[in-house]
């Protein structure tokens, strides 16, 4: 299931002493985390634990109050030019898809390619069509997002991020806004991506996905990491009381 051949020991992401405060509220309270190249890290935990905030700090959508983020050894800085440069190679997929409603599926995928990566229109289009085919939506190239189902929109959003040839993909609860019957098609695309060796950080409540696809599960609660390691350890044999209570809660919900 896991493509271990692509796992190396190079840290792709290194987060050190990450603190994030919104006013007086401490959301992240000194997080240290490493994600290696080719690794799939899944962030789980109760709502309000800071999972999404941590993810958004990786590409600078949220600014850390203290601490550092390094991507491939390059320190994250909040200057416009360095943010743009870093984000070009870090894909992000949102809970609410955030496709551009005034553009077709294909245009959603080509815009940043031509504007940011400076590819020619023809190259961007070719790549866009290849990626649409890959997420099973070649026939929807000219559809506007409003004509697509949630699952289709999210697959286009994944293709849009992949079009930039990212070295890292961030997923912020990518299936939480979907009707249950549409979750599978999105997870399938993510599973294939993981099998190809993409480095991924995924915030999700899909425990089966975490169990099957993750190399590294991180359980966050109250702004800190309470448990981390391979899925079998974190999900089946958690050491901390906080982790056990969270996991028994979501099992009760199932």
């Amino acid at each position: 299931m896991i493509n271990t051949a692509s796992l190396t020991t190079t840290p792709r992401i290194t987060i050190t002493g990450a603190v994030k405060k919104f006013g007086d509220t401490v959301v992240l309270d000194g997080i240290d985390l490493q994600v290696r190249s080719g690794e799939v890290a899944v962030l789980i935990g109760p709502s309000g634990a800071g999972k999404s905030t941590l993810l958004r700090c990786i590409n600078g959508l949220e600014r850390l109050t203290a601490g550092t983020v390094d991507i491939d050894g390059v320190r994250l800085e909040y200057r416009e030019s360095s943010l743009n440069h870093m984000r070009e190679h870090v894909g992000m997929v949102f809970q609410s898809f955030n496709l551009f409603p005034h553009l077709t599926a294909l245009e959603n995928i080509t815009m940043a390619q031509t504007r940011v990566s400076k590819r020619s229109k023809a190259d961007a289009r070719d790549r866009g069509m290849t990626l649409l085919a890959r997420v099973g939506l070649a026939g929807k190239a000219d559809s506007y997002p409003s004509a697509l189902s949630g699952g289709q929109q999210q697959r286009v959003a994944i293709a849009r991020a992949l079009a930039m040839t990212p070295k890292l993909m961030l997923f912020d609860e990518p299936t939480s806004a979907l009707d249950p019957e549409l979750v599978g098609e999105v997870l399938q695309v993510m599973r294939e991506l993981a099998d190809e060796g993409m480095t991924m950080v995924v915030v999700t409540h899909e425990m089966r996905f975490a169990r099957q696809v993750a190399d590294h599960v991180v359980l966050l609660a109250d702004g800190g990491i309470v448990e981390e390691g391979p899925p079998e350890k974190v999900l089946d044999a958690p050491e901390s009381e906080r982790a056990r209570s969270f996991l028994s809660q979501i099992r009760a919900d199932d």
């Binding site: 743009n84 870093m86 984000r87 949102f94 551009f100 409603p101 815009m111 930039m164």
Partner: protein
């Protein structure tokens, strides 16, 4: 019957006035959209002095009656450079309308969901590219009805230009009514003219809205 007769015989005179009114309105539209865009850009600027300037501009322009603004500009400019009444009216109407256009633009920009900006920025798109390629196109379709409404207001406001001697539609009716001692007839006729143009603009607005709806 008499009314119908007046309607027909007044046509050549009123047509001249109508041409002036329509050009004045068209100029007001173009300049107020440009000025409004500049003002909203200043207003949203991170540089405090620029945003303070925009706030002051909006407060002054919206706080002063159009007719007072027109008089101040007409007599103010005439005292410095020689400029005709038409130009003064075009400037005054544009400045007046630009404040409302700026507010329309601002509400359009604010109506675009923040997730759109985040999605664009997360692709490495710059702030400027995000504004022009993601936010502005979406804001535009939201503001079209409000902009057409503002255009209708500008058309009707242009009648005030007659106070600074611009020979536009309303002034033509004034002259006809003075010459014939039939104010009711000619003010009713000129009202029909305004009504017809506003009707055409409303129809056009509906067409534009439907065009955007079709594009999803």
């Amino acid at each position: 019957m008499e009314f119908l007769n007046a309607l027909i015989t007044s046509w050549p005179t009123l047509l001249k006035g109508l041409t002036v009114t329509l050009s004045l309105t068209a100029l007001t539209l173009v300049f107020s959209v440009v000025l409004g865009a500049i003002i909203v850009a200043l207003k949203m600027s991170k540089i405090r002095a620029l945003s303070a300037f925009a706030t002051a501009y909006l407060a002054i322009v919206r706080g002063v009656p159009l007719i007072a603004l027109l008089f101040v500009i007409y007599f103010g400019i005439v005292s410095i450079v020689k400029v005709d009444a038409f130009a003064a009216a075009a400037i005054g109407l544009s400045v007046h309308s630009s404040a409302y256009v700026a507010e329309i633009f601002r509400s359009g920009i604010n109506s675009v969901h923040n997730g759109q900006i985040e999605a664009s920025r997360s692709l490495g798109m710059s702030r400027v590219a995000t504004m022009s390629k993601v936010v502005a196109p979406q804001a535009l379709r939201v503001v079209v009805p409000a902009l057409v409404n503002q255009a209708i207001i500008s058309l009707k406001d242009s009648a005030v230009a007659s106070f600074i001697t611009v020979d536009e539609l309303f002034m033509s009716a004034q002259r006809l009514s003075a010459a014939t001692f039939q104010p009711l007839t000619y003010y009713a006729i000129v009202s029909l003219y305004y009504l017809a143009i506003v009707g055409a603009m409303t129809y056009f607005s509906g067409r534009v809205e439907r065009y955007f709806e079709k594009r999803g």
